[in-house]
């Protein structure tokens, strides 16, 4: 199973977070929202022109910038 970044995943697709690249700041922020490796997420939407991505895990929806979404890798179902 290959993983792709949250930024490039299609809207409506689900998968499991494999890894979060990048600094401690972004990992801490995502983890505080419950988004960490091993957690199942669904990409709700992406915006045109590399706008923010909305991702859902459980009952929580979070909007994150495209740059950050590029650093979150998902094993898509």
């Amino acid at each position: 199973m290959t993983s792709i970044s949250l930024a490039h995943m299609g809207a409506g697709q689900s998968g499991t977070i494999m890894s979060i690249q990048g600094g401690r700041g972004i990992r801490a922020k995502l983890e505080a929202m419950g988004m960490r490796p091993g957690v199942r997420v669904t990409k709700v939407s992406g915006q045109i022109m590399q706008g923010p991505v909305i991702v859902r895990s459980g009952n929580t929806q979070v909007a994150i910038g495209f740059g950050m979404a590029r650093k979150v890798f998902i094993a898509v179902d």
């Binding site: 809207a11 700041g25 801490a28 922020k29 983890e31 505080a32 929202m33 419950g34 960490r36 709700v44 939407s45 992406g46 915006q47 045109i48 022109m49 590399q50 706008g51 923010p52 909305i54 459980g58 009952n59 929580t60 929806q61 979070v62 909007a63 994150i64 910038g65 495209f66 740059g67 950050m68």
Partner: protein, 575 residues
């Protein structure tokens, strides 16, 4: 245990402020987006010796802060824990138990007496989540009370069990925290699988670009129409009749008693226009001084805050922020900056306070400066509409299109000039909620009260000062001084300098001062734009000063005066 102080701690947007209002009876603004509370609020419950201070701490996802706003929350918590006899009410969102327990477990480690308000209990049930409160209580070793703060359900038992708050003996390894949370969730929570609710479908539609953008355009159009409809309705059917049929005869009689002239007459009634009182132009304390805040501005304040409260409480704003994120990047901000911008359309003061939801100093400077230059408050907007409305769109549009262009160009320039970081958007998207009507209306009422308290004294003082300045011919003298700038560059009569002077006090009154001057449409457009841009009113200035510090305020002030002069002169050339 004797409790002296309660700290309300929890994730953003779980209803801490609503719990706070319920506990203390102190009204605070609560909305459905993360980061409504940017400043801590204090109140108390009980009285006399049993009085307990309650502190509404801004929301945080973790005790290991990742943003300046969270840092403030954690510092407040640390300070509170040090004081003896303080307890923490951890407000948690029952619909997001797992994520909320992350903060709870961190709180447990702080060894502070803790009690949990399991809020949004009704919503959790509604979407098919059931939580075994007894079991959770047993595992964590602290009292847990299910609440629906917005209706007050459970708040009484929360209060009666405050003394049961205790230090938990639950132990875990920090690195294993999520693992432990997983175990707890498995034991206490059951989620019934169910179909998409209407709110969820609507949520998806409003954030997908191809459906979301058209919906946003429609929503913004409706907002504008509804504000106009309500504002005009109140003026035409309520306030105009009151002023013309009831107040006018009283004032005419008083004017007669005072002999229709003289200094007292001028201060109370003002100058008669064609032998009659004109509420817009006479400029007495009892005529124009009352008409501006009550007759012209208040209806639009009511209309604006009704619509804003609905928007805030429904949960639409963060979604709009996502759709507009890219646009906001053009001016060096991210999508959530639309929240302070929206608030500023009502009044710049809460707008500037709300810039705290932005993380970096650079973003806050750009947002605060840009809004104080280009966003007229609702009071000023109402007066501009009143003055230029007679010309229709060709009078109104140039003002707002100019301000929008200045907003855009000023933002782009600041994005390139102001150094520092602008992080990307990172925000929770709350579930849609149908606004709780009583709560929303209360919020509107709080804001109207705030407007009246702020506006009335300043408007009355302003009218008094205007009369004094005219009586002693000070405005004429200043006009002579300012003549080169006023007439040569801006194309305005010398008298308009009076409006610029009073604009420091109240912008709505300043726009009102233009009415008796007999300006042309072009002059009215230029002066409306210049009055918006040149400097903030005293209330806005004070909060700018507090938020940005002296150095940045001086910078911002220079940008304002400079850009107002340039834009005013350009308009004079172009129009």
């Amino acid at each position: 245990m004797l409790v002296k102080k309660i700290l309300l701690v929890g994730n953003p947007n779980v209803g801490k402020s609503v719990v706070f209002s319920r506990l203390t009876g102190v009204d605070v603004i609560a909305s459905n987006y993360p980061g409504t509370t940017v400043e801590f609020c204090k109140g108390c419950v009980g009285s006399g010796k049993d009085k307990i201070d309650v502190v509404d701490v801004p929301g945080t996802y973790s005790l290991d802060p990742t943003s300046p706003a969270e840092k403030v929350a954690v510092e407040m918590l640390n300070k509170g824990i040090k004081e003896k006899a303080s307890i923490v009410i951890n407000v948690i969102d029952a619909t997001n138990l797992e994520r909320n327990l992350n903060l709870t477990l961190q709180l447990l480690k702080r060894k502070v007496p803790l009690i949990i308000a399991l809020n949004l209990w009704d919503e959790a049930k509604h979407i098919g989540i059931s939580i075994d409160v007894e079991e959770l209580q047993k595992i964590l070793g602290i009292p847990i009370i299910p609440t629906v703060a917005i209706t007050g359900e459970g708040v009484k038992s929360l209060v009666s069990r405050l003394s049961e708050a205790k230090i938990s003996d639950y132990e875990y390894e920090n690195t294993e925290r999520w693992h432990n949370i997983g175990d707890i969730i498995e034991k206490v929570q059951v989620i019934k699988h169910k179909h998409h609710t209407f709110a969820e479908r609507l949520s998806d539609l409003t954030v997908h670009p191809w459906t979301g953008i058209p919906i946003a355009v429609i929503v913004l159009f409706i907002i504008f129409q509804v504000i106009r409809f309500i504002g005009e309705g109140i003026i035409n059917y309520v306030l105009d009749p009151i002023f013309t049929r009831l107040w006018q005869p009283v004032m005419e009689a008083l004017s007669g008693l005072l002999g229709k002239e003289g200094i007292i007459h001028n201060i109370l009634i003002g100058h008669l226009i064609d032998g009659k009182i004109d509420f817009g132009q006479s400029f007495g304390i009892l005529t124009t001084g009352l008409y501006v805040p009550f007759g012209a501005v208040l209806p639009y304040i009511i209309a604006f805050y009704l619509v804003l409260s609905f928007l805030e409480d429904s949960g639409y704003l963060p979604r709009l922020a996502v759709l507009l994120d890219k646009t906001m990047h053009i001016i060096g901000l991210h999508g959530m900056a639309i929240v302070p911008m929206f608030l500023a359309c009502g009044c710049n003061v809460p707008g500037i306070m709300a810039t705290r939801i932005l993380e970096s100093k650079r973003e806050r400077f750009i947002a605060a400066t840009l809004m104080s230059i280009t966003i007229p408050c609702m009071a000023q907007t109402a007066m501009i509409f009143g003055l230029l409305g007679q010309y229709g769109p060709k009078g109104i549009f140039p003002v707002f299109i100019t301000l929008f262009l200045v907003w855009l160009i000023g933002g782009i320039l600041m994005r390139f000039i102001i150094r520092g970081e602008s992080p990307e958007i990172f925000t929770e998207i709350p579930a849609y909620r149908f606004p709780y009507l009583i709560g929303s209306l209360k919020k509107v009422w709080m804001r109207i009260k705030w407007f009246l308290k702020e506006a009335i004294p300043f408007v009355l003082l302003g009218v008094l000062i205007v009369n004094i300045l005219y009586t002693f011919r000070i405005i004429q003298a200043l006009g002579y001084f300012a003549a080169p700038v006023m007439t040569k560059f801006l194309g305005l009569p010398l008298d308009a300098v009076g409006a610029l002077l009073i604009g420091f006090l109240r912008k709505d009154l300043a726009v009102g001062m233009l009415a008796p001057l007999g300006l042309s449409m072009k002059q009215l457009i230029i002066s409306s734009v210049v009055l918006t841009m040149y400097f903030p009113c005293v209330a806005t200035f004070a909060v700018l000063f507090k938020e940005l510090g002296i150095l940045d305020v001086l910078k911002a002030g220079a940008i304002m005066i400079g850009s107002a002069f340039i834009v005013g002169s350009l308009l004079n050339l172009i129009l």
